[in-house]
């Protein structure tokens, strides 16, 4: 698959690539379908500005890590200096409200990049600050995948033999067009996309005409040889 994608990037057509990997022709076709679909729907994957704005508004008040007392802050700072470590302070609202203790995780300062990344993710999820955003991302991904499931496959009778994940199957069922108008719109959108692609390529071809006179400057240079005034 990686080789097929590399060849695609190099400008090889689907047919040419399929000829190189005949045993994987079906998979390559599916893969290219996904790539083309993602490319064509890339704008739809981006949530609208208003949706993002609403999500941000609904986020709980951002509460920076806070400690109950300056003494605790000082204590932790001292520990950090002493242990050459960094600490992630996790605020548990419920336990904090009930007068519980603040959880402090101590991490060695010289941890690897992967550790840092995993810690950040852990920190975000622990605070649940990004939960609504993640939910939206998941919904968008599911919608995208389901669209591919519906429009990317060859036909209802030609189910790909490749095992599908339950997520894919669920998504496919969730957003399949249920009305004739919706299904027809999908066909018409596909046709419009094809017309736009064809027009774009056609317009690009117009510039080829400029190459006919590409030699003009070189020819003008030739007329400057054998200047009689230099005799």
């Amino acid at each position: 698959m990686a080789d097929a994608l590399r060849l695609k990037d190099e400008g090889k057509s689907l047919r040419q690539i399929a000829a190189i990997f005949p045993e994987n022709e079906k998979e390559i076709e599916e893969l290219f379908g996904v790539v083309a679909f993602m490319k064509s729907k890339k704008d739809e994957f981006a949530p609208s500005r208003s949706l993002l704005g609403r999500i941000l508004q609904e986020l709980p008040e951002s509460e920076p890590a806070k400690l109950e007392s300056l003494e605790k802050k000082a204590l932790i700072s001292e520990q950090m200096e002493a242990n050459n470590s960094r600490q992630f302070v996790i605020i548990d609202n419920e336990s904090e409200a009930a007068g519980g203790e603040v959880n402090v995780e101590t991490i060695p300062k010289n941890n690897s990049a992967s550790q840092k990344t995993s810690l950040k993710v852990w920190d975000y999820f622990h605070n649940f600050k990004l939960a609504p955003v993640m939910a939206v991302v998941v919904v968008i991904l599911v919608a995208g995948v389901s669209s591919y499931e519906i429009w990317g496959k060859k036909g209802a009778s030609e189910q790909p033999p490749v095992a599908q994940s339950s997520l894919l199957k669920f998504a496919a069922v969730a957003s399949k067009p249920t009305t004739m108008a919706g299904a027809l719109d999908n066909v018409l959108n596909s046709i419009n996309q094809d017309l736009n692609n064809e027009t774009s390529l056609f317009d690009l071809g117009t510039a080829d005409a400029n190459l006919v006179t590409f030699d003009k400057e070189a020819l003008n240079g030739l007329t400057n040889t054998y200047n009689e005034n230099s005799l």
Partner: protein, 261 residues
């Protein structure tokens, strides 16, 4: 005293007359040179042309090298043009193939979804008919667009080949004219013809040959008319293909929607 005054006056008058006469004499000499070089019969030396014959070979070698370098540059440009054109053709053809394959996959899936939603036999037949009409219309459109593109590319290739052949002819004619002029100059030098005359003849000859060559190159710009015609034909064919397709699509859509109502 009066005698001295008269002598002085005569002297001044003579000096003035001499002064007036000198330019006339000089002009007579220049005019004589001009006439003699034109007729090529009288040998009159002029300043700066005494060593002309010794420099003819050097001039020829220097200018010939410039011409050779210029032609090499032109040949390189020709190769680059061909490469760029071929790359453009290949990359767009490959992209078109991918786009068309994707469209086929998408549309087949869309038609299958439509078929699933069809309830009655009439609706199912209408979907099949819709698919056939769309398939035929797409096929016809693609053929028309491909033909337009092929014709355009063929026209461009022809224009380029004609241009190349013309340039080769113009260059050969120019070089031949120059060679003839230089050869004549060398012969005249060997025969002891006055060098200023040889120089003048050579300058005139080269100037004339360069003008013929330059005018020919300028005439090549007329290819813009051919290109405009090619572009217009291509656009016209493309637009017609899309118009025909849209008409077929609109009718097919209307028919299908009518069946499902």
């Amino acid at each position: 005293m009066k005698t001295v005054y008269n002598i002085t006056s005569l002297g001044l008058l003579g000096a003035v007359l001499f002064g007036l006469g000198t330019p006339v004499f000089s002009y007579a000499q220049t005019a004589s040179t001009s006439i003699s070089t034109t007729t090529g019969t009288t040998a009159v030396s002029s300043p700066g042309s005494n060593n002309f014959c010794a420099n003819v070979d050097k001039f020829d070698a220097t200018e010939d090298q410039k011409l050779v370098d210029g032609i090499a540059n032109y040949e390189k440009i020709k190769v680059t043009r061909t490469q760029v054109l071929n790359q453009n053709y290949a990359s767009r053809d490959a992209q078109q193939e991918i786009d068309r394959d994707n469209f086929n996959v998408d549309t087949d899936a869309g038609l299958a979804a439509l078929q699933e939603l069809a309830q009655t036999d009439a609706e199912k037949k209408a979907v099949v008919s819709f698919g056939q009409i769309i398939g035929n219309a797409v096929s016809a459109r693609r053929k028309a667009v491909d033909a337009a593109v092929k014709s355009f590319r063929s026209g461009l290739d022809q224009a380029i080949n004609t241009r190349k052949a013309n340039i080769d002819n113009y260059l050969a004619a120019f070089k031949s004219a120059i060679d003839g002029i230089i050869s004549k100059a060398k012969t005249d030098c060997a025969n002891g013809v006055d060098q200023s005359l040889i120089k003048k003849n050579m300058q005139d000859g080269i100037k004339s040959a360069r003008k013929v060559f330059s005018d020919s190159i300028v005439k090549l710009d007329k290819v813009s008319v051919t290109i405009s015609t090619l572009l217009a034909s291509r656009k016209s064919a493309f637009d017609k293909a899309h118009q025909d397709f849209n008409l077929a699509l609109t009718k097919a859509k209307t028919d299908l929607e009518a069946t499902f109502k």
